[in-house]
Amino acid sequence: MTCHARLAPASANRQFPGRMLSLALRGAIRFYQLTLAYFFVGACRYEPSCSAYAAEAVARHGALRGSWLAAHRLCRCGTRRGRGYAPVTSSLSCSPVKVR
């Protein structure tokens, strides 16, 4: 939970255009979740699903860094080793979260 606390001020300070962009992205993700995600029911290897991960990543790390994280998450889907619980982390490392 310390993680959340540390990040909170950063998101509050975010500049206006960045906030708009992040909001727009999250809107788009939600739209996807309520429509096209229909065809991907049951396909996810990860928890949270990539779209939920992306939404959280954008909310916590901003539009740019969040998108970057989400892109990496998408790429991990389908690799043999990746699966399971892989939440958004505070760092921007691209290596997959290790969960046995």
Partner: protein, 607 residues
């Protein structure tokens, strides 16, 4: 592994973005190709700029009576006729104009007795559309054949293998001749020659043109290009009619290629000699009722010495864009990128092979609908093992749903902890990871390509399936508001949305059934919205071609069968009531291991 996937993702994104742009192109005007126009070769003085325009706008645009085809044909005097297996029509001797070309094998409606589809039509009919071949000269004193010139025909008709020669003597010692040949299909071969019997040399510039009156009613859908287009210096350029609004024009010099005007299934296209550099122009003239579109090209000038004859070859394709035929012409005449006359889209590398496969299956099975069904089975077979894995995972997940609910109740506040417990549960119950989204993603191109093929290719036009489906490329006609085809009335435009055919309804039912087999999504809003999606998709798919809807319904049915059998094998209860039945399994969620897992969770945060 990550890197590789990342590259794949980038490539996929680019493909998707490009696909998007094809589907919904930005409405920017194409760059003006104002290349130098007809700079006279060999320093010939003042070469004519281009082919003459379409006949001048009729003054005051008096409301003209639209004539029937027969009236219009009779009004223009003598004609040379042709009547092959594929084409019927005639060439007007006045102006040597190819203005009557109809497709014997293609009818206006699915009724085989309906009139043949016209590709070119004479002036006087509702939509005049014709091709002409002529000459310009640098010397204004040279008398040239014009739109009112009455040519003399060698024979009264053209048959494949027996061309007709049209001649005209200009009275100044120049004999103009057009040798028009027609093959078994849609290609007119036109040899434009001039014999100089005078005592001084003369320079002429042979041209070819196509004129189309008014803006045709296009499908108006971004998925398919209709309008003027061509291959210039090796690259395809597609224009929309609106690019030539307010009499704008395009001038392009090219060596090789072709230029034409296309509709969805037919086109009139000029093919210049592939070795010489020609000056193409595309423009519109007039406005309102007098609006005309013209494409033309001027071939290099020919200086003809006294006593000599000079000839230039031109070709006109006026007919249906049959894939095999287009490819055969490309090979036979060496026409650069003639295959691009058919709009395969950005995904041509996928759309075209899919078409070949479908056509081959059609050849084996004799019905395009059955070919689509078999194609679906083939696609499913390729992804069978992957899908099996996915369904197995889903089946287990569905069985575990009550346990997950319990976990949620217990650890709902602490997401971290809940997820740890969830992973424990997966491990204990040996839930293999799902195959991921790849098996689903790969089916998207198949769906899209099939849509494109059904929509674009003439081979699908008027192709029947079983029962009431007489045209796979059109929406299912047995719709609700027509009493499933038993009541014949014109359904008003505003009700079209509700006018759903039988096949879209079947598709909706298959979607609903499939949803019943899937585990409900964890997000309650998502779960509720998804319940309505089969209904929404039924409405959305209703206006699509029946072939595509049948494909989707059949694909769903196969998936359901596969999924159902796997669930039966796993003993997973089917249907929503199953949740209560499965309860006893959800005995101990084993919170004892909680400590060790949350430690791992902490590590995960840093990683």
């Amino acid at each position: 592994m990550d890197q590789k996937n990342f590259i794949v993702a980038i490539v996929l994104s680019v493909v998707i973005i490009m696909g998007w742009q094809t589907l919904f192109p930005a409405k920017t005007p194409p760059p003006q190709q104002q290349t130098t126009q007809a700079t006279s070769p060999n320093g010939t003085p003042s070469a004519p700029a281009s082919a003459p325009g379409a006949p001048a706008a009729t003054p005051a645009a008096a409301p003209q009576k639209v004539m029937t085809l027969d009236e219009a044909l009779a009004a223009q005097g003598p004609r040379v006729t042709f009547n092959t297996d594929q084409l019927l029509g005639s060439i007007a001797l006045k102006g040597a104009r190819i203005d009557d070309v109809r497709l014997a094998k293609q009818r206006e409606t699915i009724d085989p007795n309906s009139p043949p589809v016209p590709v070119l039509s004479p002036v006087g009919t509702e939509h005049p559309y014709y091709a002409e071949f002529g000459w310009s000269a640098s010397d204004p004193n040279v008398k040239l054949p014009g739109p009112d010139t009455l040519w003399t025909a060698g024979n009264p008709s053209v048959v494949p293998g027996k061309p007709v020669r049209l001649t005209w003597d200009n009275g100044q010692g120049l004999i103009f001749a057009l040798d028009v040949a027609l093959d078994e299909f849609f290609m007119f071969d036109v040899r434009q020659s001039v014999e100089n019997k005078s005592d001084k040399p003369v320079t002429v510039f042979p041209w070819s043109l196509i004129v189309r009156y008014g803006e045709p009613k296009a499908e108006g859908i971004y998925i398919l290009h209709e309008g003027p287009y061509g291959v210039f210096n090796g690259s395809l350029k597609e224009f929309s009619y609106s690019d030539f609004k307010d009499n704008k024009q395009q001038k392009i010099s090219t060596t090789g290629g072709w230029v034409g005007i296309t509709d969805k299934y037919w086109m009139a296209t000029l093919v210049p000699d592939q070795q010489s550099k020609v000056d193409v122009s595309i423009k519109s003239t007039g406005s309102g009722a007098d609006l005309k579109y013209q494409i033309d090209y001027v071939a290099p000038g020919k200086e003809i010495a006294p006593g000599a004859t000079a000839a230039t070859d031109a070709r006109l394709f006026a007919g249906a864009k049959i894939v095999k035929l287009i490819d055969a012409y490309e090979k036979k005449y060496g026409i650069e990128k003639f295959d691009l006359t058919i709009d395969w889209g950005w995904f041509w590398f996928f759309t075209k092979p899919l078409f070949w496969l479908l056509e081959w299956l059609y050849g084996q099975l004799g019905n395009f609908g059955v070919a689509i069904l078999v194609l679906t089975v083939l696609v499913k077979a390729v992804f069978f093992p992957l899908a099996n894995k996915s369904y197995a995972a889903m089946s287990k997940m569905k069985a575990l749903q009550p346990e997950m609910e319990k976990l949620k109740e217990r650890y709902g506040e602490d997401r971290q902890r809940m997820n740890q417990e969830l992973m424990q549960l997966y491990r204990r119950e040996k839930v293999n990871p799902a195959a991921g989204c790849l098996p689903i993603v790969v089916q998207i191109p198949v769906f899209f390509a099939l849509y494109k093929v059904l929509y674009t290719t003439i081979e699908m036009r008027h192709q029947p399936f079983f029962g009431w489906i007489k045209d796979l490329s059109a929406p299912d006609p047995a719709t609700i508001l027509t009493g499933f085809g038993f009541i014949h009335w014109q359904v008003p435009e505003i009700l079209h949305f509700f006018n759903i055919g039988v096949w879209p309804l079947i598709m909706g039912v298959t979607m609903y059934l499939q949803q019943k087999l899937n585990p409900a999504p964890a997000d309650p809003v998502q779960a509720r919205v998804f319940q309505f999606l089969p209904i929404l998709f039924t409405f959305m798919m209703a206006p699509f071609s029946a072939g595509l809807v049948i494909y989707w319904a059949w694909s769903n049915t196969l998936s359901i069968a596969q999924q159902y059998s796997i669930m039966r094998r796993h003993g997973t209860p089917i249907g929503s009531k199953a949740a209560t039945k499965a309860k006893p399994v959800a005995a101990v969620p084993a919170p004892a291991n909680g400590g060790s897992t949350s430690k791992k969770g902490g590590k995960a945060k840093k990683g």
